[in-house]
Symmetry: C2
Subunit: 306 residues, 2 copies
């Protein structure tokens, strides 16, 4: 099942880096898309396919998983969604796990419909796991858990997000408990109930790198939950900040980087070293640097069987 | 812009009924899909297309808008999403407004990507409005508002949902204010700032029919917001329950019914009168009955200028 597979992939690759696939027409390496964002959606989608396949071919041997952001594919309409499904399969054909980041949420049989469409390699989208938003409460999460369990897949519930405005609802305190803490406690119950050999369950939490104190609080509150940690790099989170996401064995968390890796060709120091034409080499260098950074400064350096 | 168009559509049709398009393989009228849910996704999607087109052809002249539930199309993978885009266009060709119910949510440029893909007839999905989930806070809603404003489209933010578990986060009380009330106050600020000639803004709220007291509280708290009211019929909400959603002029709210209308062929009293073969007549009768029910028992009977 997903939690154990993720532990095994992290162990095999020796790092907890999650590469976010956030293609954008305006940021693709020159030559991949004539006309940029003004090109017809079908041509943009084809460029996204070539770009994402190219990213996957580079990072596939290096990191355990990728996280396609559904929004950027959905932005192109049906043409983008066709490519999204191909991207999922391509990553899996390269031995990676795929977490679809769609933050879906609904109730009852509607939530089940999302879960059945997204979760498990036998499903139409074929994801190994997906992100889910919790505003609708327990009966919006349970259908995802049920389908995930039947298919050996996983979900990551938004707990404490990395954006400045996240506190508007998440940080509301009642009876001494924040809203995000309530979500965390529900996630932990589901995670504990579904824990596998790795010690982790199929329900994990999304916890931003930009709030290190909450990261530590939540690591303690959710000992059976995998953490998906966004906000590293472009949103300001550092390797030092994410250290608290890991358990004492150096496991239990994956750290996402999207733009910082896939668009490395456009940022220092990779832009000068490689330039747009050698964008795949820039991606490889940026990925290796992030792996080293996490190894040097966090318990991830102690990664063994985590 | 959307809020004024909706007021005009409600006035023209003389009722506030929103028909939810929630196709499901197992519930389609016999003959539409050989093999039911076991059929390949592409054949299921084709059956969804014929079914939804058939629903739209019946309800198009009767009600102001339809609400396709994205989950049921997404469940079929890319084949379902191709049909979803066709369903949106078909409803608009019949003179209806289309609210895409996807409860999307993300932050910053990712939220913008969803908004740009979904909102406005010139966008790939072409929706007149879309539903949005607020867990990520203000900076997850603002990008939707920005795109909606640029395109004359609308959004409906989940405020108080119709499901029993919704209270887990939405009803948390801090400093005397519920979480849903905080969301409502933010929605009202955005609605007031964008109000058009109808008195309503392009940001509305989703407020369940199953909590009549909160409906009244929220009507008062959000005088400039259109209400999208789910939970009527199959979830237990009655015409009496939804009365509080309307403003003193009988406007400002649309009441959704999905299964109760589109699968009328399978429920009393329509099953006996029409049967599966005459499913379109069953839909027409159920739609007319809901219109009458709302006219008889709520301020919607006084509908004039919306």
């Amino acid at each position: 099942m997903f939690a154990d597979q993720l532990a095994e992939h992290v162990r095999q690759r020796g790092n907890p880096v999650l590469v976010g696939l956030d293609p954008r027409a305006s940021m693709l390496p020159a030559g991949l898309l004539q006309g940029g964002a003004a090109a017809p959606p079908a041509r943009q989608a084809e460029a996204y396919r070539r770009f994402c396949f190219g990213v996957i071919d580079v990072v596939g041997p290096l990191v355990p998983a990728v996280k396609p952001q559904m929004a950027f594919f959905e932005q192109l309409g049906p043409a983008g969604m066709i490519v999204l499904a191909e991207v999922v399969r391509h990553a899996q054909s390269r031995g990676m796990l795929v977490i679809l980041d769609g933050k879906r949420n609904d109730i009852g049989t509607t939530a089940s419909a999302y879960a059945e469409g997204l979760l498990g390699r036998e499903s139409p989208w074929g994801a190994d796991a997906a992100t889910v938003s919790p505003y609708l409460g327990a009966d919006s999460l349970d259908p995802f858990v049920e389908v995930a369990q039947a298919r050996g897949a996983g979900i990551f519930v938004l707990v404490k997000t990395s954006n400045p405005g996240g506190g508007m609802l998440q940080d509301v305190v009642a009876d001494g408990r924040t809203v995000y803490r309530r979500v965390a406690e529900y996630v932990e119950r589901l995670a504990e109930r579904t824990a596998g050999g790795s010690g982790y369950g199929l329900v994990g939490g999304v916890v931003g790198a930009t709030y290190p104190e909450q990261l530590a609080e939540l690591r303690e509150a959710m000992p059976h939950a995998w953490f998906l940690v966004p906000g590293f790099g472009s949103q300001g989170g550092t390797a030092h900040d994410v250290a608290a996401a890991f358990d004492p064995r150096g496991g239990g968390a994956i750290v996402n980087n999207s733009r910082g890796i896939i668009f490395a060709h456009a940022r220092a120091p990779y832009a000068e070293r490689f330039g747009a034409a050698r964008w795949q080499e820039a991606i490889e260098a940026a990925t290796r640097d992030m792996i080293d950074e996490l190894r040097g400064q966090t318990p991830a350096g102690r990664l063994t069987g985590g």
